[in-house]
């Protein structure tokens, strides 16, 4: 089953019951395909586990988790759609991308080599045991003591490795060429397969010539190049890193391009602000508390109790309110924005002083007693106050349309929805059979 774009976009909160419980045995199960790319259960769980709210995620109820899984899945689909489109537009062939990718891969290669070096430094079993006993009971103290010894040994090993690499690649440094007559093409370091020129060390002109600073840069760059070359010679496989980088960078690159198209300059924001007068006014806000009951008589009786000081509205709301949420919060509704509450209540509270109890108000829900705990009177919002918000609003407006367009171009197959519907049908069937 393929969802048409409008359907996908109308699912503001995608709650997928199939995903209620993470099924580790089915980690490779494909949930959605975007063109020829699969999004698996494992991809979804990895995305969740690497999110900053993962600890809190585990504390949520099943249906809240299912909603978050659905939301995360939608984000993954969006990212894959943007990636597919970025590739169609050949953004992966642009220098902006290829240069970044190559810098990134060089950085990762360098870091992996150093990590391998660090990992090769280990404490012997005897040393570990000694430290364990010395710092028994404190994981942090044991970790700090081990790290301190390892770090000392690593520094020594690093210096030894550098010396070995200098000999291996026949490094020659030309410190005496660092003088005020230096030219951009002057070679300051020569090794077997690579060299460092003055230009590659600095884009600075010779205006602020500083021999010490140049020497410092030369040593650091030599170290970096030596390690990078050694890592390159070791043929460390970085294809996964490159793929991961493309998956993250290409959608971002396309988004930057699109946002520049949608908002080429500040006058777009200014125009949006001027054509949306409703954004100029900041609405009134009230911090409200209320109780709702079924009959007018009960509301009047409770009101009398509050006025006579026999009980507070909060106590009575916690006990008698027919609105379960209000009952749970002892009547506290939080901050309510003008125009979002029942009109009968808004009319009644307009002239209330703080902490004054309203007369009984009738709405379709029942009979209310309301009080204003605090109020913030709205006013005029200036363009500069909401510039960032305007930017986000324009992006959101365009993003919906753009994603719909992308789904036409790059087919999205929501396999998980199919499984979900099957499961729902099976549940219904079971229920029917039990009912009969």
């Amino acid at each position: 089953m393929r969802l048409i774009p409008a359907q996908l976009l109308s699912i503001s909160l995608l709650v997928i019951t199939t995903l209620l419980v993470p099924n580790l045995a089915a980690a490779s199960q494909v949930l959605v395909t975007v063109e020829d790319k699969n999004i698996t259960r494992a991809d979804l769980e990895t995305a969740l586990a690497s999110s900053p709210f993962y600890t809190q995620f585990n504390t949520l109820d099943e249906n809240q988790q299912a909603a978050i899984r659905g939301d995360m899945l939608k984000r993954l689909v969006t990212a894959r759609l943007l990636e597919a489109e970025a590739r169609r537009l050949q953004l992966d062939k642009t220098p902006a991308f290829t240069t970044d990718l190559s810098d990134y891969i060089n950085g990762v290669r360098y870091q992996k080599y150093l990590n391998q070096l660090r990992d090769s430094v280990k404490l012997s079993n005897k040393e570990q045991l000694k430290l364990r006993h010395q710092y028994a009971g404190s994981a942090d103290a044991f970790a700090a003591a081990s790290a301190s010894i390892i770090s000392k040994r690593y520094r020594a090993l690093y210096q030894l490795t550098l010396q070995k690499l200098r000999d291996q690649y026949h490094v020659q440094l030309f410190k005496n060429r660092i003088n005020p007559q230096i030219k951009p093409e002057t070679v300051l370091m020569q090794a077997d397969n690579f060299q460092i020129t003055y230009a590659s060390l600095t884009d600075n002109t010779l205006q602020n010539f500083n021999k010490g600073a140049i020497l410092d840069k030369l040593f650091r760059e030599t170290e970096y190049r030596l390690i990078s070359q050694a890592a390159l010679d070791e043929n460390i496989d970085l294809s996964k890193n490159a793929q991961q980088y493309s998956e993250e960078r290409l959608p971002a690159l396309l988004m930057e391009t699109k946002i520049n198209q949608w908002i080429p300059n500040d006058s777009t924001l200014q125009h949006y602000f001027e054509s949306h007068p409703e954004l100029h006014k900041l609405k009134d806000r009230w911090h409200l508390a209320q109780l709702v009951v079924k009959t007018k008589q009960q509301a009047e009786e409770l009101r009398a109790k509050i006025i006579n000081g026999e009980a507070s509205l909060f106590q009575l709301a916690g006990e008698f309110s027919i609105d379960p949420e209000a009952r749970y919060n002892n009547g506290d509704l939080g901050w309510v924005l003008q125009g979002t509450g029942a009109p009968e209540i808004e009319d009644a509270i307009k002239n209330l002083n703080n902490n004054e109890i309203s007369p009984v108000i009738k709405t379709s829900m029942g009979y209310h007693l309301t009080t204003v705990l605090d109020k913030r009177i709205g006013g005029t919002q200036h363009y500069y106050q909401i510039k960032d918000k305007l930017r986000q609003m324009i992006i959101n407006e365009n993003m919906g349309k753009y994603l719909a367009e992308l789904q036409h171009r790059h087919p999205v197959n929501w396999l998980v929805m199919e499984q979900d519907q099957k499961k729902a049908r099976a549940l219904l069937k079971n229920k029917d059979e039990t009912d009969h």
């Binding site: 993470p22 600890t55 585990n58 504390t59 988790q65 364990r132 009971g137 404190s138 994981a139 942090d140």
Partner: protein, 170 residues
């Protein structure tokens, strides 16, 4: 006697009392706690004391749902229970948190050992009594089959500590 002098004497007496109380607390904290008298409800409300698992080697783990290192070590504890449960070994955890959150973490991570519940305040008192004066979680105590504390571990519990302090007791 002037009121000022009276005040001074009063404060000296009060300080003396405070010192005595403090000394008594220290003495109580230093004493070997009566482990088997700890009694707490599990997630379904059923009350348990550590006596229920008397005769087993117990790994008693204190945790909270908001504590990230606690969540990191849970898969290890699950594994120990799975691997050594038949060797008279039992992981028991005490969650210092809301029951609903603890229940959800138990379901989400597939915890296969009992989770007992206490409030943050009562849990903090219990931690102090059991030698964790900073009241930090995670905190793990290894109890021998004879009911003696063999080892106390502040911070994330790890496989090396298990090998060193638990395996010899099994």
């Amino acid at each position: 006697m002037t009121p000022d002098k009276l005040k001074k004497i009063f404060f000296i007496i009060l300080a003396g009392f405070a010192l005595q109380i403090h000394a008594a607390q220290l003495h109580a904290a230093d004493a070997e706690p009566a482990l088997y008298t700890i009694e707490l409800p599990d997630l379904s409300g059923e009350s348990h004391s550590l006596k229920d698992w008397q005769g087993k080697t117990i790994l008693l783990n204190f945790w909270a749902s908001w504590c990230t290192p606690c969540q990191y070590e849970i898969p290890h504890l699950i594994n120990y229970q799975k691997q050594y449960g038949e060797n008279n070994f039992q992981v028991i955890s005490i969650g210092l948190d809301e029951k609903r959150k603890l229940k959800n973490v138990k379901r989400s991570l597939g915890i296969n050992y009992p989770v007992l519940v206490t409030s943050q305040q009562k849990g903090a008192d219990l931690l102090t009594r059991l030698g964790n004066k900073q009241q930090i979680v995670p905190y793990t105590i290894i109890i021998t089959k004879q009911g003696k504390i063999a080892y106390k571990h502040l911070g994330e519990f790890d496989d090396d500590a298990f090998k060193l302090y638990v395996e010899p007791l099994l």
